[in-house]
Amino acid sequence: MTSDAELIAWSLAGDDDAFVEVVRRHAQAVGSYLVRRAGRGAAEDLLGEVWVAALRARGSYDRSFAEARPWLLGIARNVLRAHWRRHPDEDLVADMVTLAAFADPWAGIDEQIDGAAMLRTAVAEIPQDEREVLLLVAWEGLNVADAARAIGIPPGTARRYLHQARLVLRSSPGMVALLHNLNSIKEPR
């Protein structure tokens, strides 16, 4: 399969469809990134902005990277920041930790333990850059090097951020008990 880098090179030579192909490959991933952080309605509005920003920035794409997803997520992050600057009443932390709340993995495990709420609170307490690395790895499925590329920091820094973020999560109130409960549940035969 033709790499994203090659397609971007073709688009720079005038092949618009090549860039559209890059967009189609990563549309769901970038769309989900936006949904998790800004909600579905805003995400649908912002996705087009991401593509336009990427189109304008493609001349600076580092073609030593075959896959464009981290680059696109980085652009999505910038678009999201601009969105929040335009809408300062929408709090970044509140969005990030509440809008994905409908997916409740704890249903049926123990209704008395609001694990999702606990986890969201813990995530909100993580410093912003560390949280971004953590979520790019946990939610977007990037490895640490790609997460670093997405937010423009050295890979070593991203590894440190991820380590610190995981420490905060593990030490958050209730996390030890929650993990213990989850890991004690027997798989049904």
């Binding site: 618009d16 769309g31 996705l47 087009g48």
Partner: protein, 252 residues
């Protein structure tokens, strides 16, 4: 399998994927931007003008449609050439007007046109006495819901008529929604062989916060695609709008 904090977090981030419709709308925005920065852009038109190659709407249309991803409709009337390009579902509309030939008779500002990306509209004819306005075009992206500039241009004043094609949530669907809420303001028409609705904005009642709540005049609109509508609107009489609408067809 051992559950750790990362797998818990991963589950928390599960979301429903965006709809195909939403993805297509975002792609339409991209294609619109490509068209704006491609052969039909202001920059390219200026270059073409310097080269002396832009001699009329038809010639320019051929050049643009042959090379641009988004079909752009150009209309030539009375020697003038007009080029309109539009948007998409996202609240961004672009509109470009090509250079007008010096000999074009500007009788009265009667028409502007912006068209969307899929499908586009073509204006095959205009009633006698009508020409295209050059003073009422959208010069850049509009923002808001619907685009404030779009609405103010659409209903710019008595005698001004606009032809628009919109895909998605901007402009026309707002009128569609308004019509559904105000059946007393709707008449069914047959214009140019297609069914259309005439919406009397003077009789509609919308939310006070909506731009459309403050607008008077008429809208003739009809569906030209799954998510797109053609709309002829403005401060003219319903008869004027019908006559103009009769010459508007989806582009081939």
């Amino acid at each position: 399998m051992i559950t750790d904090e990362m797998s818990l977090l991963s589950t928390l981030g599960e979301v429903e994927p965006l709809s195909t419709d939403a993805l297509e709308r975002s792609e339409a925005v991209l294609r619109d931007a490509m068209a704006s920065s491609g052969p039909g852009s202001d920059l390219e038109r200026r270059r073409a003008r310097r080269r002396g190659t832009e001699r009329g709407g038809r010639q320019f249309r051929r050049a643009v449609t042959a090379s641009a991803a988004v079909v752009v409709t150009a209309v030539a009337v009375g020697g003038g050439s007009y080029l309109a390009s539009g948007s998409s579902g996202a609240p961004t509309v672009t509109h470009r007007v090509a250079q007008q030939a010096p000999t074009a008779p500007l009788q009265q500002s009667r028409l502007i046109a912006y068209v969307g990306s899929s499908p586009t509209l073509a204006v095959t004819s205009l009633p006698a006495g009508y020409t295209l306005a050059s003073s009422n075009h959208l010069t850049g992206p509009t923002e808001g819901f619907p685009g404030d500039e779009l609405w103010s241009k659409t209903f710019a004043g008595p005698g001004t008529i606009t032809i628009e094609e919109v895909t998605g949530a901007n402009g026309t669907p707002d009128a569609v929604g308004l019509a559904a809420q105000n059946p007393q303001a709707v008449q069914h028409l047959n214009v140019g062989g297609h069914s259309a609705l005439l919406l009397n904005m003077n009789l509609t009642q919308g939310p006070p916060s909506s731009p459309s709540a403050h607008i008077v005049g008429y809208v003739v609109y009809w569906q030209v695609g799954t998510h797109s509508w053609a709309m002829v609107s403005g401060g003219a009489t319903p008869t004027d709008l019908e006559r103009v609408a009769a010459g508007v067809v989806p582009a081939k």
